[in-house]
């Protein structure tokens, strides 16, 4: 390629970019570059979601990055590029403190072009092991890297591979778990959309290591773009003989198929995922036997999360020691976190394991989007917990978080400011797990329902004094009597909020007060004298609960008000408030 002297305009087309309008921006550039010597390219998400749509201008000697680009700006930008007047719109503070291993190519390569990946040493790790490293040596390398499962449980990856390798069988399977179900986590989607070949390479290496000929990538159906890109990547890799029979002429046969999930959170659990590939209801089974002994169709099966597999090619290329240089004592390497919620700079953050939450939130994420103080941070999705602001100095590693009542989980960090009600957050998560419980275990099926009912009545202002005790009692029983992690960990959001925010529960139950002013049953909306009678709120109110003549102060009819808060958000005169 002789792209060196060309100026390339590169638009980020990940799901997040597209949802911010990047497709339209891409089309606008396509139209605008006609007749110029500029080239248009696309890439996926580089993790800086707060800047989407992102457009990079790759000049001869440097790259200029533009944020929040809109279609209207395109003609002006083209003009500036052609006249050498283009300037960077953002400093790169967000990236400076990160160590990008898994995300090294995300936002830099075209995910649909295998040559882009090959140019970044792609498939070199696979070639290297096929040439002169025995499967056992690959496993020992992964073991000494200290890599642990990034899907949540943190089981040592090398050990997992060894167990599957040692299972005697003519047929074995490897599966990439891309059923990223934790609300608030999106790193797996970003990696597959942005660098799909890296995942395939990692999966092929795991297949070689344990002795499997077939691999599956199990992707959530909610990620249509990821499905499309991984399918394209498999086809391209097969055409280059990087997958398929006798890979690179080195005697290894490996085939990958994509399985689309059908919308069941529990399928992120290994045994449920296997049941789903087998065409059954995705219900977990008792372990042991572990999938390493008896997994898909009863054969030994190894399942790793996307991020885990995406780290493998780097580890093989650079060596286990280099990977183990990063991280904390028991948690080596880097971890990708998805920073979301009330945060200024939300997006994907890959840092050394062990960095403090405070650093991640304030130095990388630039604090809350509202400017208000952080109240709590939710880690690890529905199985995780909420840590209060006072614990932000906790290093983010598997052990430290567990000791505080949260978990690393898949790496979702949802930041909440003082306007978030912790009882409501507990209710939210319970509603989630209750809905997603597969129904197999009685305590998970019914216990979560009872907990949810209790939480609902507390947030409605109908809590009873015995409720906190009942919640703790149910939580311990659900934890003890459920088969899989979904049930075992379902009470965690309630337990951690009870541990750190018990005051708020008591306020709701005894004083009938929600300090965050967010629980509907405990707030009232009011209209002040600032109201000029413009009718905006009456038109917006879904319950028709506001009346008043035009140009006269309006009133809210308490019996009709459903407390949705729409009136407050549409009022242009700050005349509506809630207390």
């Amino acid at each position: 390629m002789d792209n060196k002297d060309k100026t390339i305009i590169r638009v980020g087309l990940g799901t997040c970019g597209i949802s911010a309008g990047a497709n339209d921006v891409y089309d606008a550039f396509k139209e605008a570059i006609a007749g110029t010597n500029l080239t248009l390219e696309y890439t996926s998400c580089n993790g800086m979601c707060f800047r989407e749509p992102i457009v990079d201008i790759i000049l001869k000697d440097r790259i200029i990055s533009l944020s929040n680009v809109s279609c209207g700006e395109v003609p002006r930008l083209i003009n500036e590029i052609l006249n050498n007047k283009i300037i960077d719109s953002e400093d790169n503070d967000f990236l400076v403190m990160q160590n990008r291993i898994v995300l090294e190519n995300c936002g830099h390569i075209n995910p649909d072009k295998i040559d882009d990946y090959l140019a970044k040493e792609g498939y070199q790790a696979l070639k290297k092991i096929l040439l002169d490293i025995l499967p056992e040596q690959v496993i020992s390398e992964v073991k000494s890297s200290g890599l642990r499962g990034r899907g949540g449980a943190g089981f040592p990856t090398g050990l997992k591979w060894e167990l599957a390798r040692n299972s005697k069988s003519n047929e074995k399977y490897v599966i990439c778990n891309a059923d990223e179900g934790d609300p608030g986590a999106f790193m797996d989607r970003a990696v597959i959309e942005g660098d799909p070949h890296r995942v395939l390479e990692g999966l092929a290496i795991s297949g070689y290591a344990i002795g499997a000929k077939y691999g599956y990538v199990y992707v959530r159906a909610e990620y249509p773009l990821a499905v499309k890109r991984i399918k394209q990547a498999i086809e391209d890799a097969q055409n280059r003989n990087l997958l398929g029979n006798n890979i690179l002429g080195l005697g290894f046969n490996f085939f990958i198929k994509v399985k689309e999930g059908a919308g069941a959170f529990v399928c992120g659990e290994e045994t449920a995922l296997i049941a789903s590939i087998e065409g059954k209801r995705g219900m977990p089974t008792l372990k042991p036997p572990y999938p390493a002994e008896s997994g898909l169709w009863g054969y030994p099966t190894n399942i790793n999360n996307v991020e885990t597999l995406a780290a493998i090619p780097w580890i093989i290329r650079h060596g286990a020691d280099k990977y183990a240089n990063f991280g904390a004592e028991k948690s080596k390497g880097t971890k990708v976190f998805s920073l979301a919620g009330q945060i200024s700079k939300g997006g994907l953050v890959e840092v050394e394991i062990g960095m403090s939450l405070r650093k991640i939130i304030y130095e990388i994420g630039a604090g809350t989007s509202s400017g208000k103080p952080v109240k709590a941070v939710q880690l690890g999705g529905p199985s995780g917990g909420c840590l209060p602001e006072s614990m932000l100095d906790t290093p983010v590693d598997y052990e430290s978080l567990l000791a505080k009542g949260a978990i690393m989980g898949s790496g979702g960090i949802v930041v909440m400011d003082v306007d978030t009600c912790m009882v409501d957050i507990a209710r939210y998560f319970l509603a989630f797990t209750q809905k997603e419980s597969c129904g197999k275990c009685t305590f998970c099926r019914l216990g979560t329902k009872r907990m949810l009912e209790i939480l609902e009545r507390i947030t409605l202002g109908e809590g009873r004094e015995s409720d906190v005790e009942s919640l703790i009692d149910l939580a311990s029983k659900i934890g003890a009597s459920s088969l899989c992690q979904l049930g075992k960990t379902a009470p965690n959001p309630v337990l951690s909020t009870l541990k750190y925010f018990k005051d708020e529960y008591i306020e709701h139950i005894v004083n009938k007060k929600c300090r965050a002013r967010s629980c509907k049953g405990l707030i009232n909306y009011k209209i002040t004298n600032k109201c000029i009678g413009c009718h905006l709120c009456t038109k917006a109110c879904p319950a028709k609960a506001i009346n008043g003549e035009i140009k006269e102060k309006h009133q809210i009819i308490p019996d009709l008000c459903i407390k949705c808060g729409i009136c407050e958000s549409v009022c242009k005169f700050e005349a509506i408030y809630h207390e």
Binding site: F265, S338, A340, E436
Partner: protein
């Protein structure tokens, strides 16, 4: 395009393992899973109807009744929840005069919620068919719905 039971069996195979791909294909073609068609597929394959029905009712992606032409999925993930997704759902619900999991009487829209669309930094997020919209406000949602009413109608 509406195809026959034979087509799905020929295209995807007769094993139980093909249950989900077959159901996904039927749903993509028909917009829902007609019971009669599922029964016909089972007669022509090795899949037991009770198993297929079990799968069809387990996964949230599948539905046994027809859906609207455009499916609106509101993200109910943590980040969206914290950023006030609930208000938007109420607003849309009111705008379309349907509740969550219902379809408008003209068959134009169905309203659903989904666990997480993975665009948490652009919360609140909404998806219509395969298109994702980020940083939603009540005004933006109404504008988008209006556009669909005008351009993606019958």
């Amino acid at each position: 395009m509406q195809k026959s039971a034979e087509f799905y069996v020929n295209e995807y195979g007769v094993d139980e393992a093909k249950t989900i791909p077959i159901l996904q294909a039927i749903q993509a073609d028909y917009g829902y899973l007609p019971i009669k068609l599922m029964q016909e597929v089972c007669e022509k394959s090795n899949i037991h109807y009770n198993r297929m029905y079990g799968v069809a009712t387990f996964y949230s992606q599948f539905n046994l009744t027809p859906k609207g032409k455009n499916i609106i999925r509101f993200c109910a993930g943590t980040a969206c929840h914290v950023k006030g997704a609930e208000k938007l759902i109420i607003a849309v619900s009111e705008e379309l005069k349907i509740r969550v999991n219902e379809t408008t009487s003209n068959g134009l829209f169905s309203l659903e919620t989904v666990a997480c669309l993975g665009c948490c930094s652009l919360a609140p997020v909404m998806m219509i068919n395969d298109k994702v919209y980020g940083k939603m406000t009540i005004a933006k949602v109404k504008e988008i719905l209006m556009d669909y009413k005008q351009h993606h109608g019958q």
